[in-house]
Amino acid sequence: MHPPAYQHLLLSTLIWLPIGTGVLILLLGEERARLGRWLALFGSLTTLALTVPLWYGFDRASAALQFRQTLPWIPRFHALYDLGVDGISLPLVVLTAFMTVPVVIAGWRVIRERAAQYFAAFLIMEGLMLGVFCAADALLFYFFWEAMLIPMFLIIGIWGGPRRVYATLKFFLYTFLGSVFMLVALIYMYVKGGSYAIAAMQALPLTLEEQRWIFVAFLLAFAVKVPMWPVHTWLPDAHVEAPTGGSVILAAIMLKMGGYGFLRFSLPVAPDASRELDALIIVLSLIAVVYIGFVALVQQDMKKLIAYSSIAHMGFVTLGAFVVYEIVRHTGTVQGAGMGMDGAMVQMISHGLISGALFLCVGVLYDRMHSRQIADYGGVINTMPAFAAFMVLFGLANTGLPGTSGFVGEFLVIIASFRASFWYALLAAVTLMLGAAYTLWLVKRVVFGPVTSPRVAALKDLDGREFLVLGALAAAVLLVGIWPAPLLKVLQPSIQHLVTQAIATKLGAP
């Protein structure tokens, strides 16, 4: 079967269209920021529209990379401009394109200072993030992975809150430090195997000693990005100080890159080291789930609370990814071992939607009251009923209520943990209680009860723009929650392939 000719160009268009639009907005300058805003909306919507043929043209029976485009890039390093998506990256690509639209709309009237630069930064950012998920060459992956830091650094630093400089420097240096060691590991594998292709790295035979070092280098890069306890401390700062759009992109997509990295690099490239060190990841994940859950409970700042909740939820992702070894050890079969990874992937998509939506909700309140302190609110339902409905829905989704996307991922991961060990599952399930506690308590204090202050009494309900944004996200959350089958179907072959790679050993290979 010959794929239509446009298929080769689809991913490139997805990546470069937003970047090009962003540059164009920059060139138009601040004087034409209104035009730039429309261009940004047009660019992000077109990008989203382009994911439709991607989603429907994707062959769900195959684990191979599809929509491949391969061009020589740096012949000296055998590095290719090589793009492709499989079942693991496709949902993340769609999520990225989907989440950028609300970010653009949410900033529509709120951003007045240097608006053109704001929209340009987000569009360029979108293209770079899509590049990370589409890259099939490790050097290209790293290129996008690092380039992404530049717009995010500026977004937090320019449009952020009072402590924005501290937060953005911390964010940049943390991630930069982690990534540099990943680069060193990639170079090592290039020197050894003579290729930067990710597939070649996955197939490269490595001794246990080498795998351990590579695993640790990857862990530094991805754990910071996820973020895992104890390298999570940049996230609450960055989230709190970032403008709403920045928080949404950070939570919805950038954190997913860490999880994606584990699935794309750590497990297949260093399977023996992963098997050996899986307990480390599982313990760190459980600490994130339980301890960070408690930390979230005592937060006074809404954004900080959601940030800690993100860390706890991302703990599920790493838990789901690495529990596969325990399952195999415990049950002795590979049957159903992929369930944890399925859960991890669904959890990533779902968390992207829910945390993004929650940050948008906080943004709605912040635009009106210029406060993120929980204590300043109370009884919002009386003045903003439509908003309250959305906030309650997303809050419930965050606690993992059946029928919402939050349920599917957490449920799969907990079931998988049960197969591995009762205690893992018990600890992981604690988060359901904790998550319910901190989220519902947040909703209770902000939304319900009598009106506590004249400022709350003066609040105006959602306008059409905000309603549209939150409505679209609510629809997505419910869709994934009620009917996750299409998503799981896309994941299926690639996850299966990943499980075989992860439980295979590289030690016996010639």
Binding site: G29, P72, W73, I74, P75, R76, F77, Y142, F143, F144, E146, A147, L149, I150, F153, L154, G157, I158, R164, V165, T168, L169, F172, L173, F176, L177, V180, F181, L183, V184, I187, Y188, Y190, V191
Partner: protein
């Protein structure tokens, strides 16, 4: 072995010859006509002519020796010379308004810059210890004079004096090392020396080598021979700092390559051992001390030192690939340094040097173009893709891995994270801080600004498509 200096051979040296003739003509014209603007224009004309001549040798791929083996014409030389022309021409373009405002726009400035360039060329094409020394001195003497060019400035005079005294010691060390090597091998010809030396070397050669390495370290600004560099960078007029920070680095790269890698190639084991502690110290001191600077010129001086550490790492790898990586790093560094000092020059006004970090507060709002250029340049030096500085660092890491220097890779990687902090600090000042009330607004100067924009764009373009320059660097060092 020694082809006669035939007419055909002489043709290969026309860039130098044209430059020398041009210098003499400019000197005379300046004296008799005394029109500075004309001198500036003519200087650019001379540079353009020489650049055109150099380009016309792009087809010369075979290495040829001229003038009884004193001079070598090869692809590497033409590449470095072409880079030298372009960088000097751009640098003079950036400096024009600066010199005018400070009333030091004189014909001699251009003449001295051109003689320094001639010294650089002699050094680049040197194939004999004598020619090497001739080039080093011609370059150094011209630069001493340039540093003191603003004769009313006490700081400039002081740093010129410091530079001169320390530079003289380094020249002495170089000469002494050369004399030992000459005494033990009986030849000045670099090619001959390499055939007569083989590891393990006699003690005398090692002693000579130590002196040569010290001199190279001094010229490049490697720790612990870096003391002159921050003071000279800070004290000299910014246009001269731009010059010192860019074109001579090409020459000193050539010095290190021709002397150590080619002439003393037989003693590679010894000199690379000497370079390891130098490189490590250079990386650490350069990056750490830069963190606490409040003067941008001084900070860029320490950043230069840190970058020199990376260049030395390329030499430590000791393979043609390693030298190619060092060459690539040098070219990239020069391109970025040219732009960075260009930003300082274009931000300055009469009575406002723009050399303090605080002078850059809120630049993004006062002058978005300049701020964007600086943003790209700083992210490039920090080694963040998609900018070209990333590939330069990547290349160095690769060759070090290939030659098995694991610990150096890790130190260099860690230090590049430390380095990122102070580059980010500049971006923070420009983008995140509010401009002070009395800050000057965007300046005029269309041509220089356009050139600076292209300079920054080149940093981005070479970062997105790094293959051509990487290939070129590898080819000329095969």
């Amino acid at each position: 072995m020694n082809p006669a200096a035939d007419f055909g051979g002489l043709v290969l040296a026309t860039p130098e010859i044209a430059l020398a003739v041009g210098i003499c003509a400019l000197l005379l014209l300046d004296v008799f006509l005394g029109r500075r603007a004309l001198t500036a224009t003519l200087t650019l004309a001379v540079l353009a002519l020489c650049a055109a001549l150099t380009v016309s040798y792009a087809h010369v791929t075979t290495r040829r020796l001229l003038f009884d083996g004193l001079y070598v014409a090869d692809e590497l030389g033409y590449l470095l010379k072409l880079a030298g022309f372009l960088v000097l021409a751009l640098g003079l373009l950036y400096s024009r308004a600066y010199l005018e405002q400070r009333r030091i726009l004189r014909g001699e400035y251009y003449v001295l810059a051109l003689t320094a360039l001639l010294g650089i060329f002699v050094l680049i094409s040197a194939n004999s210890l004598l020619t090497v020394y001739l080039g080093v001195e011609l370059l150094a003497l011209s630069v001493y004079a340039l540093v003191a060019f603003d004769r009313d400035s006490g700081v400039a005079a002081e740093s010129a004096m410091k530079y001169f005294v320390l530079g003289a010691i380094a020249s002495g060390a170089l000469l002494y090392g050369m004399s030992l090597i000459y005494g033990l091998t009986g030849t000045l010809d670099l090619g001959e020396i390499s055939t007569r030396l083989n590891s393990p070397s006699p003690l005398g050669v090692i002693v000579g080598l130590v002196f040569v390495v010290v001199a190279v370290g001094f010229k490049l600004g490697a720790v612990p021979f870096h003391m002159w560099l921050p003071d000279v960078y800070e004290g000299a007029p910014t246009s001269v700092t731009l010059f010192i920070g860019t074109v001579p680095k090409l020459a000193y790269f050539a010095l290190a390559l021709r002397l150590l890698a080619q002439g003393l190639g037989g003693t590679e084991l010894e000199w690379s051992q000497m370079l390891v502690p130098l490189a490590v110290l250079t990386l650490i001191i350069g990056n750490v001390v830069a963190l606490v600077q409040s003067n941008l010129k001084r900070m860029l001086a320490y950043s230069t030192i840190a970058n020199v550490g990376f260049i030395l790492l390329g030499f430590i790898a000791g393979t043609p690939d390693g030298y190619a990586a060092a060459l690539y790093y040098t070219l990239v560094y020069v391109l970025v340094a040219l732009g960075s000092f260009g930003v300082i020059l274009l931000s300055s006004r009469r009575g406002f040097e723009a050399d303090l970090l605080d002078d850059y507060r809120g630049l993004a709002q006062r002058d978005p173009l300049l701020a964007l250029c600086m943003l790209l340049l700083m992210f490039s030096t920090a080694g963040v893709p998609p900018l070209v500085g990333f590939w330069a660092k990547l290349r160095i890491f690769q060759v070090l891995w290939e030659s098995g220097h694991l610990w150096l890779v890790i130190i260099a990687a860690a230090m590049s994270v430390v380095g990122a902090y102070y580059y980010l600090r500049i971006i923070k000042l420009m983008y995140f801080d509010e401009p002070p009330a009395a800050a000057p607004t965007a300046a005029r100067g269309g041509g220089a600004r356009l050139a600076l924009g292209l300079n920054a764009l080149a940093v981005l373009a070479l970062g997105v498509a790094p293959a051509p320059l990487l290939n070129l660097c590898a080819r000329v060092l095969q």
